[in-house]
Symmetry: C2
Subunit: 333 residues, 2 copies
Amino acid sequence: LNRILLTSGDPAGIGPEVILKTFLALAQRPESKTEKKISLLKNHIEWTVIGSKIVYQSLIKKLKMACSFDKTGTVLLFNSQLRLPFIDVPLDGKIAIGHISKIAGKNAFAVLEESIRLIKTGRYHAIVTAPVSKEAIALSEPHFIGHTEYYAEAFHAKKVSMSFMSPVFDLVLMTTHLGIKKLSAQMKPPVIKLAIENALHLQAISKDKKPLVVMGFNPHASEGGHFGHEDGVIEKVIRSFKLGKKIVGPLAADSAFQQVYQGKYSTVVACYHDQGLIPLKMLSKGRSVNVTLGLPIVRTSVDHGTAFDIAGKGKATHGSMMEAMLCAARLLK
Amino acid sequence: LNRILLTSGDPAGIGPEVILKTFLALAQRPESKTEKKISLLKNHIEWTVIGSKIVYQSLIKKLKMACSFDKTGTVLLFNSQLRLPFIDVPLDGKIAIGHISKIAGKNAFAVLEESIRLIKTGRYHAIVTAPVSKEAIALSEPHFIGHTEYYAEAFHAKKVSMSFMSPVFDLVLMTTHLGIKKLSAQMKPPVIKLAIENALHLQAISKDKKPLVVMGFNPHASEGGHFGHEDGVIEKVIRSFKLGKKIVGPLAADSAFQQVYQGKYSTVVACYHDQGLIPLKMLSKGRSVNVTLGLPIVRTSVDHGTAFDIAGKGKATHGSMMEAMLCAARLLK
């Protein structure tokens, strides 16, 4: 039996709602042999939720959800078979659902700290994270950048890449949550090399036999050095792998993503956040999963944000959370 | 009768081939009343091709195309109705089809100069351009950046935006062929304001009644200033238009393009080349047209490059050229 932690993310966002909706869906789904993935999630994993109990209680009441806490308040009950251990990380004060606040940010951060503490006990094997608001956390933790960077530091992991698995293509990013202004300085051989190494690893996991494609940094991949030196650096790093036609690039990203869409490539290394995530999110329609490669544990996440505008209204969909949980369960196998 | 110039682009690229294929298709298509666009292109426009005659002659011979030059060598004959004035700009030496060369670049540039000269006679009303290789032109014209910048300078036009019309969405770029490193310095109010003004103009042409969406510059549109100041500048400029909900942004580009794909927005302002062109090219499948807004004349272009790898092989498709010609013809109306 594998044990996976679920962090609730920002308590004022849609994290608690999508976690509850996923398990409500699992509780209602019949277990047939054809539904292997339902069985995997229900019978082969013990899920433990970390979050603010009071937030879950109000949400269950408000949205009239068919679940409840047991008498001890440490287990979420969906039905006789589906019981989730729940670890309460209390709020420091009142919060308003759907709004950015320091209290909500502090709670989201405390939940992450608790996840690290639990992982270090050796009892748990993976973490699936619901979305946090970087803005909210930064009100008390000004140096917080994102989940990926946080876990990399907590585990002293140096070779971490923010990555995504989706039905259309898998993606590894060279850089993550960084202003465009700071990108050029990052385009150095170790950064590029690490992303390509992790992408080759991801190809092995996904059994992708197509060439790996590396996107160019500047428009038209600099068109012969015309728009900057960075694509020359990428080219040298690619050549240093000595893998011949197994790695293609740096290609002009606007036309190369057309080819990805047409199925020519299934694993992509992108230089920066929006270059990779614009096409990924557009094509995966909420079915992509954020995977942190290079950590000592498996860590996956939903592909959406806190969605404060619809939080607490019952409108959030749990498809991405289900995919993130499934992806974590599969990566543990 | 409107007169439109067609520039051939790099003579070693697929420009001449897609021009010829478009007219061969037009010559073969029956003129029925249902095919309004064919009639528009055949009967309401006089097209004049500018390029190297020898390149066209070899191509017609090699690909056994059903067209020829008349005795004077100044008219391309497709059939009795379809006759194209042809203006020869001779090559300075031999070129190899499919290869970057200084001679090919010089020829492509001379063709552009000829188009400016002809426009200034007052006889022509628009230009449709086939792709050039910036790398080839730069071998003799080191300051050449691209068609958009070239025509802006030639016409002393200060308020020019590189834009695209496509079946899925229309796009205006704040910046064009610029290295990522130089982008941040460009994110100033006049640049942002100009792109939004041109996008509002494009919305009027396209009769798009949805809100205009402006993409954020940094990941997550800086998430409250977390990744840079640029999105704050964009926000202020948007507010200065005082158009309320008619302009939305700056939005996190990765999720906003999902909404564009879902049809929530039809006109987009993107901050830089790849941010706008990755999703545009992916979704438009070769049916997008590059339009330069803010010139004293109409100028459109194909959305693809010189495609040296397939040049001269008969493999190029003319869909994008047909769309570019159609778009120019419609914009003249």
